[in-house]
């Protein structure tokens, strides 16, 4: 673990010195986790892809401002989360300009034939964007409240409260689901 951290630090320093190959390796190391952060916030696979690409590009441009003693992953996740939130804001502005029937449901999944998944998707759609992001980041991805707060630019207590409300809402909407998983 410590060795991985050292390797990462070496890669960060090399990337800061302008070695593109080092940044390429950092992308390989972090892209999957960055995708899960973005997906938790934007909801759809396509938007998550866009947010991840934007996030890495922002990170590359801001690389000289990163202090190598910090955790690169945490710094990157904040940037990717910010790119995802920005994407959501732009989507909302665009959606407001479009006709109501063209506004897409947040969870259109081709494999959603499954009744349970359909209900889950609808229940999650009942949550606010932030509550949904918080519950996914916490209960699915295992991030801590402080990390989620930093990513979404909200106080830790707000992240905690969002999680509580999101769980209460899902409990109310899905309370009758039987254990079929």
């Amino acid at each position: 673990m410590a060795e991985t951290r050292l390797d990462e630090r070496r890669l960060v320093l090399a990337a800061q010195a302008g070695e593109e190959q080092a940044f390429s390796q950092l992308v390989r190391l972090h892209q999957r986790r960055a995708y899960t952060v973005a997906r938790a916030i934007v909801g759809t696979h396509e938007d998550a892809e866009d947010a991840v690409q934007d996030g890495f590009l922002h990170a590359y441009r801001a690389l000289d401002r990163f202090l190598p003693d910090q955790a690169f992953g945490a710094w990157l996740h904040r940037i990717v989360a910010n790119a995802a939130l920005d994407l959501m804001r732009r989507r909302k502005v665009r959606a407001a300009d479009e006709l109501p029937e063209t506004v897409a449901a947040p969870f259109r999944d081709p494999g959603e034939a499954d009744h349970l998944r359909g209900r889950l998707g609808r229940a999650l759609a009942e949550l606010t964007d932030r509550q949904r992001a918080v519950i996914v980041l916490h209960d699915v991805e295992g991030f801590k409240h402080a990390e989620i707060g930093a990513m979404l630019a909200i106080p830790e207590g707000t992240a905690r409260s969002d999680l509580h409300h999101a769980r209460a809402m899902l409990r109310r909407l899905l309370g009758d689901i039987r254990s079929e998983l």
């Binding site: 302008g18 593109e20 940044f23 390429s24 992308v27 390989r28 892209q31 999957r32 995708y35 899960t36 997906r39 938790a40 696979h45 892809e49 991840v52 690409q53 890495f56 590009l57 590359y60 441009r61 969870f107 999944d109 998944r117 889950l120 998707g121 999650l124 519950i135 996914v136 916490h138 209960d139 699915v140 295992g142 801590k144 409240h145 905690r160 509580h164 769980r167 899902l170 409990r171 899905l174 309370g175 009758d176 689901i177 039987r178 254990s179 998983l181």
Partner: protein, 129 residues
């Protein structure tokens, strides 16, 4: 025993039941080829935005600010030189003006009348033809 999902209460630990329920909806792609493709797209965008091409608004402002500062300094130096030159010329002109005019001093004390011309010397007068 009930087979209904038992949702636990408020807790700091991730809720495994919720996690299991929601995870399939957020599952990242599993194929290695997908991640290779994403990596390629990310790096293509990074290469397209080489450091020299990255021009943020604050960088433009910074350049303008630097140019403005240099221009202001040059103007200040020029203005200072012109002002000094002008002051020196004025001083020289005033000095020259003072030197070129003969002094026309006349001292007269208060209450003093104009001095009468000296009386003609009778000896000298008589000696003259």
């Amino acid at each position: 025993m009930s087979n209904e999902i038992q949702f636990p209460g408020r807790s700091d630990a991730p809720d495994e039941r919720f996690g299991q329920l929601i995870r399939p909806l957020y599952e990242p792609p599993q194929e290695g080829t997908y991640w290779d493709g994403l990596h390629t797209r990310i790096m293509n965008r990074v290469r397209a935005a080489a450091p020299d091409d990255v021009v943020e608004w604050w960088m433009v402002m910074s350049r303008w600010a630097k140019m403005g500062t240099v221009a202001a300094m040059i103007l200040a130096v020029l203005a200072g030189a012109l002002l000094m030159q002008h002051e020196q010329r004025e001083a020289r002109m005033a000095y020259d003006a003072v030197l070129s005019q003969p002094p026309t001093y006349s001292f007269q004390m208060d209450g003093e009348e104009d001095e009468p011309p000296p009386p003609a010397n009778p000896i000298l007068r008589s000696g003259l033809p």
